[in-house]
Subunit: 151 residues, 2 copies
DNA sequence: TAAAAGACTACTACTACTATAGACTTTATA
DNA sequence: TATAAAGTCTATAGTAGTAGTAGTCTTTTA
């Protein structure tokens, strides 16, 4: 049940982009900065952020002092939205996908045991990803930091 | 969050192998029979069943009248066990894997927001797959069939 | 007008997935 | 005891997706 590197880097980047908003800091962050902080190839990250931009989740500013920033508030962007842009459907198998259903070719879909269980799995994952916003993530990070007495 | 064809076919086959036990029928089922019923390549399925056999989940009988049968009772084999043999770890990302942990290289694992959420996802999937046995699946199939008045 | 930033496209290396093929072994039974 | 039915095992091949590189273009600010 792998998350791709593309998905991983994209989610990490979005979480980073959600942080300054909370701190009321200058919200524009550059590719290079994220890449260095997460030790990721800047060129690869560039493609990922571009995809998120084209999906309407990020805005950008070109030229000197430019960079990326969230298109909506961190509480309005869910991990599920980001995931689907970068890694496609959440469902483990197409016949239980809400967003891109396809028959799987089993003899009888209605009574297919695998389908019933994978439907549960899909819902469990979607429940988490669709109900966790970037704001929830940064909030949780801060809670853990405080608990550990970091920063 | 894809389930591979290998995993899909293996799970389907195991569910089929769990059915005759319940019906007190002759428990030995041949590759060919499963392949035809599920419209799968018999040669591909062969490799999958062999892997499950080598993992101790299936026994087999060679020669005329031979075939495969469950090594343990259907209630003692979980979907999680089968999944791990065929598709590897359940965790979306290695740093939250129980069975095969590996650091993911993020600056601080303890306070990594992505890791916290993906840990939840891992647990949600594992909760389902590790607590669903083959017997649970066949039971559920029969419940649906009765409800629909099939067979 | 130069430098800093993103936009866009093409391409490449690698790996994993999905099979296919074939030769071999075991077993029942005619 | 010969034959056919079944699983065993290993090699290989095509394909698609993943992860990343490279290079050129465009926009913006100082």
């Amino acid at each position: 049940m792998r998350l791709s590197k593309r998905g991983e880097y994209g989610l990490r980047a979005m979480i980073i982009l959600a942080e300054p908003v909370e701190k009321n800091a200058m919200p524009v962050v550059q590719i290079k900065e994220i890449a260095e902080r997460e030790k990721i190839s800047a060129k690869f990250l560039e493609q990922i952020l571009l995809a998120l931009k084209n999906a309407g989740m990020l805005h950008s500013k070109m030229g000197v002092g430019g960079g990326y920033y969230l298109a909506r508030s961190a509480s309005e962007i869910t991990l599920g939205q980001i995931f689907r842009v970068l890694d496609g459907p959440i469902a483990p198998i197409n016949c239980v996908s809400q967003m891109s259903y396809e028959p799987c070719g089993c003899p009888d879909e209605q009574t297919c045991g695998l389908r019933l269980v994978m439907g549960d799995v899909r819902n469990a994952i979607a429940d988490i990803l669709d109900n966790t916003s970037l704001a929830d993530v940064t909030k949780r990070q801060n809670t853990v930091r405080k608990k550990l007495g970091i920063k």
